[in-house]
Subunit: 377 residues, 3 copies
């Protein structure tokens, strides 16, 4: 087992590499499903991640200075920064194609500060462990993103551009498979012990999640066909849900049940949310982050509480205390995410930031030069 | 050098990761060469692998229970399961585009059970080492797949759908390069010592294989052009062939000769099989697994015998015994593969499983919703 | 910290894997931006790399034999060979689409011999460390490639084929992101200590490089849009520049400044070179390797000198000596690259090698069979 010192040495480089690969490459291509937005999906993803990581490292330095925390070595700092950036990447999924780069950058900076604040409160006052407080990235990212996206105009429903082509869906599948393969690394990267158990449990949750995704996609479709969007989101849901508890689950079948529930939540959530809740709240969630990361994250937070109770049922005299801590952390994270997300949504939609018109949504040509188009002339 | 205990600790996670990446991502995209079958190639590949891994872990547990074997830790079990799944992935290559998901799942489950059975006989009665018995995956997968595919109707030769486009070939190249890069991990993942030697030899076999693929592709073509399908299959052949003996080869030039022969077998095999043998036997092998994995596997098994004889020529008084073991294991594996494959072919073509009509072969739209197609209306 | 012995054991396999992945997969797809040259970009890249690695290992063996050097173990030899091949891959970028496979192979063999010669002089006579002498690959590759490409006819400026499509640019982005993610491995692979520091500094240089690339691309464009080609080249420039000094930089902000300068050099260099210098010298540089690898390499070599001077300003009595060594190594490398490149350019353009006509430039169909095209008939 690595101890805390060793995890900062060269040994943890592969772990950092995996997470870095996930956020830069995996999420970059995960978001390329829009047919005319591939450049922006991958390009802006790179841009906000590198900005966010630098910002995140600066904040950590500031906290070290202000709170007299112990100084971490370099690799560990950028690993944590890269994991934190997942929150921002998830949020950008909700406004994909609707926000311009300046809005995205502002959003990334505000979000990363808010997430650090929320995480800092969790670890300092609620004594939540470092790993668990980091696993709130999915929740935070999803609800921050939804709150921001509620301020953006909805695209006209008949627009052709808010759609995928078989080619773009296949590229998105490439990103999804990358994320799927690397997810066990993500869930175990900050653990100093029980790494192998976390990897093992995450793998099984993901495996069941993938099977369930196919089955439910078939069952909820009218004509007995698979829906690619369901597969994209539901195969990953298991990894999100099991993140909170991957290191404390004793038997793989528990992880498998969580994977099943997570995938079910994602597919059925997609069905319900897109028909009922989102239109009512006037939220347009381009990449479906609510049911890919939000709901499975909520499920995971609940599962963590249940598992803790079941485990320490007899041992602990202070069961209420045991239960209140994770629930408190959960509520705090969601609240901070929604409030700061709402405020960010207001700010980035000021005229100052040149919001783009609805007719230019989901359009690479608005941001990128296309010499290719001129070739024919 | 890792010992058996250490290989189950976090140290072996990168090795598992590599194999997992290969089967999920590498093979998934390796099979995307059909122009209208990209979703199914990558999607169904994910589906059967996760099902198969779970099934494989269950079987191992059962064997532990029944045969009182020693209990392996989690990571090692899923690593072995992922390696075993290569057999299934190879088999599905033969019926790619012709079998529906239910048929694929049934085939995967039967095959993984048959492979475990065959491997169990090999290790228990023939005292074949764990690593070598696992390297039979390529042979088993190829001949099982061919036996199954002999029960599927041949697609009409004039169908446009059983073809690739430059784009789909390029995506397939992406998968091929992934497999190529990770192959040394595959050949060394189960070794507990001599890992570096196996990696080194595999790399050289693959390198020579790639060069030979280009040269032979040029020489066998009529108009002096390269054929992409030759490249796809022949660059990997060296890795398959050298798998059996990668850890016992003393000098890289031996591995290089094996790579040369393997690549030659693959390109010339492709030439002969597709013109003579397959039409005669009425076998239609969509991905050419016979010459990509089957023939190089046979060559590797023979090479292993020759190398063993050359090495222990003088030392061993029981040369016949030394030779009979690998030949016995080889014959057993092929026989089990052909017989169970043949039976599986009969079963999955029962009317019960809704076999798809020849006109719907190689068609994503038969299984997947394509909202993209409705956009224009 | 690994010592020299340990770096040859299984521990260094992941490092080799990363470099191998970069040269085979990363560079292969980095070069797929031409719309009709995807097969050749990835295929020929694989071909020349495997040939070059074998050639490189043979040369090392010869040097061991001739110069009585100590014998390195296998993995370390192929790792070094793969790193050296970066020079060849960069050079082929300059003649991409203009040279046929025979010319490429000849070029690869000559270049790898010349690079080994240059590196051997550097390490033997100038006492340059192994790592630094290897980091000259970018410089060597770029100027060798430019010298060779000066002998190829310029494509007619109105040709449609020397262009990218959105799809091919996206595939190229895939390769670029791969290279970006793995670059810290590249800069640290040959270090035996200070690995973590090199990784950390490289990451920050790359991060700032990426941000600067976006900003400058916007500022230099007429209509306030990003240019994909700028992004492709400039995001990597930081990694190239910081390569020489990644292990001696004490504070990340120094690496960040280098990243900024590198990216600036790449974007502005692209602007100036393509308008002024290259047309004047009649050089056509298909992939823009001059500003992606050449200029940032020069900058890195200068930065190394400045950093060495600043660091040992007071300590060393022989400052002139300290400065002369890296400058000497730099001049030697560039000179050898230009001279051997020029000669190679003359040789490969002999009629013997069937140079391809300008009208067939950038055309996959000249080398590859396209059965797809016949399908419609």
């Amino acid at each position: 087992m690595d101890d805390d010192d060793a995890s900062g040495s060269t040994n943890s480089y592969p772990a950092f590499q995996d997470v870095n690969h996930m956020v830069i490459f995996g999420f970059g291509f995960f978001l390329t499903f829009l047919k005319r937005y591939g450049f922006s999906s991958t390009g802006f993803n790179l841009l906000i991640i590198v900005l966010g990581v630098q910002c995140s490292v600066l904040i950590e330095d500031l906290l070290v200075l202000l709170l007299q925390r112990e100084y971490k070595d370099g690799l560990q700092r950028i690993t944590k920064a890269a994991v934190s950036m997942t929150a921002v990447v998830i949020s950008t999924g909700a406004v994909l194609g609707k926000a311009n780069p300046v809005q995205l950058i502002l959003m990334a900076v505000v979000e990363i500060i808010a997430f650090h604040m929320s995480r800092s409160i969790n670890t300092t006052f609620l004594q939540v462990s470092d790993n668990i407080s980091m696993m709130h990235v999915h929740l935070f990212g999803a609800y921050f993103g939804l709150a921001v996206s509620s301020h953006f105009s909805e695209p006209s429903p008949r627009t052709e551009k808010n759609a995928s082509t078989p080619k773009s869906d296949l590229l998105s599948m490439l990103g999804t498979l990358f994320l799927w393969v690397f997810w066990p690394s993500f869930n175990s990267v900050l653990l100093v012990e029980e790494k192998t158990k976390a990897i093992y449990n995450t793998y099984f949750a993901l495996a069941v999640s993938a099977v369930t995704a196919f089955v439910l996609s078939l069952l909820t479709a009218k004509d007995g066909k698979f829906r690619m969007t369901d597969i994209h989101s539901a195969v990953l849901a298991g990894g999100v849900t099991v993140g909170y508890a991957a290191h404390i689950i004793e038997y793989p079948w528990i992880a498998m049940i969580l994977g099943l529930l997570a995938s079910g939540t994602a597919v059925l959530g997609s069905y319900c949310l897109q028909r009922c809740l989102h239109p009512a709240l006037k939220i347009h969630d381009t990449s479906g982050i609510h049911f890919t990361f939000g709901l499975p994250g909520v499920l995971g937070a609940l599962a963590q509480v249940v598992l803790l109770v079941l485990k320490d049922w007899t041992k602990s005299p202070r069961l209420d205390y045991l239960v209140m801590i994770p629930i408190g952390a959960f509520c705090l994270t969601i609240s901070v995410a929604l409030i700061t997300g709402f405020l960010t949504g207001v700010i980035v939609n000021l005229k100052l930031f040149k919001t783009i018109p609805v007719s230019k949504y989901f359009e690479d040509q608005f941001y990128w030069e296309f010499p290719h188009l001129a070739v024919g002339f």
